[in-house]
């Protein structure tokens, strides 16, 4: 049976050695509690929970899936009990404010725990994951009374939450949404409409579900400027046994994440309460959009890590064929398949994306902390940088996460296609991550259009300056030359290409769309290149200073070398395609596609 082991040593390396978590936490107000010993104790306990409770339920969740009958959803065997344990462990409260029952720990530490929980069992992790989104909404925009009523219950974990955005006719384009909110004399609203694709919309794990619903007031302007946010609980807090006009019409039958209930939610004159100012619902949502998208970026890392761990075990165990240079283990009937270059390539690709992805997410998570608790220039700076990196992390990491999951399957040969090994589940589960929370294509438009070109390249410069500084500082370090030289080139090219696309876009806006996904992937490889260079530097310094973990650090340097030799060059073809102009995409008449 496939299984998950939390890679605590690598997590520690990225968090504490590469990204200097101790200095980071001690520099931020309110995070003094997050000392290294505390962080490590929390991570160890989170690892235990992920490995022993959640990992064994991953395959069961896929095989059993959720079932719907008469509006009730039953989750797979063990899911409910695991959630109960999660609540007893106080985990939902981690990154929330002390006055609402939280532990007041940094959001970035929450993401570290989410990594383990999500890698062990992504479908399960979505139930508390969606609650987290609802909690952030309440935290940022709720009134004191709303926080006392709903946030405390969500922090405690006895209730869960959802985000109800999508409707049958509108997913990406929320301006078209139709769900209505009628004001009532007592200040509440009657909500009516249908929402679809609502993850964790209905289930048997908690006594109440708090839906955060996007709807329109009667006098609302058309489009995105007429959307308001409402709290609509499954049961009103004062009468938990009665229905509040919220029902689950059905659940979707889908490719993966079977353990998570994807619901059609019907609101029939359900009582709701406005949260945030009227008609500002989308703006309110944007306040924590980056955090939510980072949560999905994490899924890319999760499936890469899971695929890597399990295919590594198999590659060392499976005996088949001989090494090309003659038998590596002559006493055995054949060599383990890890001797073959192409198998190694697939393993190293997964390793480079999993560990590099971890660095990317932890890096962004520290920016989330800064946005949350710092102020003035520091906050503004972190906010801009995070806004730039978020679409990259979300789309790039989920794309390479899916690629990695596929490599994991491939290493198993035909067995990878067989359900029992869990590798095909990993591929299926990972596929959704490129779709929800904004598709890859939407993230790409957000990055190139909104973030980069609309700021006249300022957002990009904020990051390339960091890379530039690093390259300058390492310019004379002989051992770093193999990383620094290509990085300097990419860093310059990045700006040049952006300028080039920007110029063309002034004549034709389609040039932005036509270059966008390639541009995003290019940016992803560039960011990851910087992070791998950073990790290689840390490892080199540790070895130079003397360590009894030389193998560990050497493996980091070797993986960085692999990345620069075999992954970063993917940018060459991306440069060619993204600068080739939009004509090759736009010239064919829509009516002529069939010919």
């Amino acid at each position: 049976m496939p299984e998950y082991k939390a890679p605590l040593r690598d997590m520690d390396f990225v968090l504490n050695e590469v990204l200097k978590a101790e200095q980071h936490y001690q520099s931020l107000p309110g995070y003094e509690d997050a000392t290294p010993d505390m962080v490590s104790a929390i991570m160890e306990e989170g690892a235990k929970f992920a490995e022993k409770v959640l990992s064994p339920l991953n395959q069961i969740g896929d095989q059993q899936g959720c079932t719907w009958a008469d509006g009730k959803v039953t989750t797979p065997a063990g899911f409910k009990e695991a959630y109960q344990q999660f609540v007893e462990g106080g985990w939902p409260s981690l990154a929330h404010e002390v006055e609402y029952g939280g532990q007041g720990l940094p959001e970035s530490l929450g993401l570290v725990i989410n990594e383990m929980v999500g890698t062990a069992n992504w479908s399960w992790s979505m139930y508390p994951g969606l609650s987290h989104g609802a909690m952030n909404t309440l935290d940022a925009h709720g009134t004191e009374e709303q926080k006392q009523t709903y946030l405390t219950k969500l922090v405690e974990g006895s209730w869960t939450g959802t985000m109800c955005l999508t409707e049958p006719h509108c997913g990406t384009d929320l301006g078209m949404l139709r769900t209505k909110a009628e004001p009532q004399a007592d200040g509440s609203y009657k909500i009516s409409g249908t929402k679809i694709f609502i993850s964790a919309g209905e289930h048997d794990m908690a006594e109440n579900i708090v839906h955060i619903v996007l709807a329109r007031l009667p006098d609302a302007p058309a489009g995105t400027k007429g959307i308001s946010l409402f709290i609509v609980p499954k049961h009103l807090p004062e009468s938990l046994s009665e229905s509040n006009g919220v029902s689950c019409g059905s659940i979707e039958h889908k490719m993966g994440i079977h353990g998570n209930a994807t619901c059609v939610m019907n609101f029939d004159d359900a009582t709701g309460f406005l949260i945030g100012p009227p008609n500002k619902g989308l703006n309110c949502m944007f306040t924590f959009m980056n955090t939510a998208r980072l949560g999905t970026a994490l899924q890319g890392l999760a499936h890469a890590e899971w695929g890597f761990q399990n295919s590594l075990v198999y590659a060392k165990d499976r005996l088949q064929m001989r090494a090309l240079n003659g038998p590596a283990e002559p006493d055995k009937p054949a060599d383990p398949i890890i001797v073959h270059p192409e198998v190694r390539k697939m393993l190293l690709t997964q390793k480079a994306f999993a560990e590099g992805g971890r660095a990317m997410i932890y890096y962004c998570a520290q920016l989330v902390d800064k946005v949350k608790v710092s102020d003035g220039e520091e906050k503004e700076y972190a906010d801009g940088l995070l806004a730039f990196l978020t679409p990259i992390a979300k789309a790039f990491l989920t794309e390479v996460g899916f690629e990695s999951a596929n490599h994991g399957l491939q290493i198993f040969g035909g067995h990878g296609y067989i359900a029992e090994w869990g590798m095909e589940q990993n591929v299926r589960d990972s596929r959704i991550s490129m779709l929800y929370e904004g598709t890859t294509q939407i993230q790409a438009l957000d990055l190139l259009g909104r973030k980069v070109l609309m700021t006249q390249g300022e957002a990009l410069k904020r990051f390339t300056k960091i890379v530039h500084k690093f390259c300058q500082a390492e310019a004379d370090t002989q051992a770093m030359a193999k990383f620094v030289k290509p990085l300097v080139e990419i860093n310059k090219e990045w700006g040049d290409i952006t300028m080039q696309i920007g110029m063309k876009a002034m004549q034709n806006r389609d040039e932005v769309g036509a270059a966008s996904v390639d541009y995003l992937m290019y940016s992803g490889y560039a960011v990851l290149g910087y992070l791998w260079a950073l990790m290689a530097k840390e490892a080199q310094e540790k070895i130079a200073a003397g360590t009894n973990e030389e193998d560990f650090y050497r493996a980091k340097i070797k993986t960085a070398e692999f990345y620069f030799a075999r992954i970063l060059p993917r940018t060459r073809s991306l440069v060619a395609t993204m600068t080739s102009g939009c004509e090759s995409l736009m010239d064919l008449d829509a009516e002529h596609f069939v010919f």
Partner: protein, 249 residues
């Protein structure tokens, strides 16, 4: 009722144990360390007694260098109230540990000691017994069930012939077997609270114990590698081989 639980820092049961190249000891560099599983069961049992309103205070004690404070903190996160680390770099054998614990039992007025029956590193299985002897009190080893009744402790023990139940006067020393309970996971708020709980550091001198070397570690070696087997063609051949190659059958 005051309970003392002893916790030992050992190599995590999941970690692969390596022997130092000079065979002087096990290589502890960069290996994951954890609380000894039997000790964790002892902590859990003490916490359950406290939750049942029987125990009033739980003191977790560990003997070793500063690093073993991590294991004391683990015990505090599970529900112990106070920790005591007895600082020593000296490799302490069971009798030294028992002497140190005996002093703490006396000075803290302990009513009940619960400890693991053995640690998964050296598997000595003797500290609890030695401690009971030094304290001149009753011992209930290999406990699979524990009950406190009328100032007595009823211990169900796993013995070769089955189960045996003893009734012991307090104070007493109990050592835990695997089936006594299933330890809980530490809850996040308790991990954070553990940091603020008192943790005293004492030295053997403070306790008036002179550590002596009662045992000497001569050499540590890996188990010999399994030799390859031979395929035989028939049962007769097997019997022949057993007769000729293995004496005494």
């Amino acid at each position: 009722m005051k309970i003392l639980v002893a916790v030992k820092r050992v190599i995590d049961y999941n970690a692969k144990v390596r022997v130092k190249s000079d065979q002087t000891d096990v290589d502890l560099a960069n290996i994951k360390m954890a609380i000894n599983p039997f000790c964790e069961i002892a902590v859990e049992e003490a916490v359950r007694l406290k939750e049942a309103g029987i125990a009033t205070e739980i003191i977790a004690v560990s003997v070793g260098p500063k690093a073993c404070q991590e294991q004391i903190r683990s015990a505090l996160a599970l529900g112990a109230d106070k920790g005591i680390q007895i600082e020593t770099d000296h490799i302490s054998d069971s009798l030294n540990i028992a002497k140190l614990l005996a002093k703490v039992v006396k000075s803290e007025n302990i009513d009940l000691v619960i400890m693991g029956k053995q640690a998964i590193d050296s598997d000595n299985n003797q500290t609890g017994q030695m401690l009971a002897a030094l304290l001149n009190c009753g011992q209930g080893t290999f406990a699979s069930k524990l009950e406190i009744k009328d100032q007595k402790v009823l211990v169900t023990r796993e013995i070769d012939g089955g189960l045996q139940t003893l009734s012991l006067n307090l104070p007493a020393v109990i050592t835990t077997d695997l089936r006594l309970n299933e330890p809980r996971y530490a809850a996040l708020p308790n991990i954070m609270k553990a940091k603020r709980k008192p943790l005293e550091v004492k030295t053997p001198q403070d306790l008036g114990v002179e550590l002596k070397q009662h045992t000497k570690l001569l050499k540590v070696a890996e188990p010999s590698k399994r030799q390859g087997g031979t395929m035989l063609n028939s049962v007769d051949e097997l019997i022949e081989k057993l007769k000729s190659e293995i004496q005494g059958i």
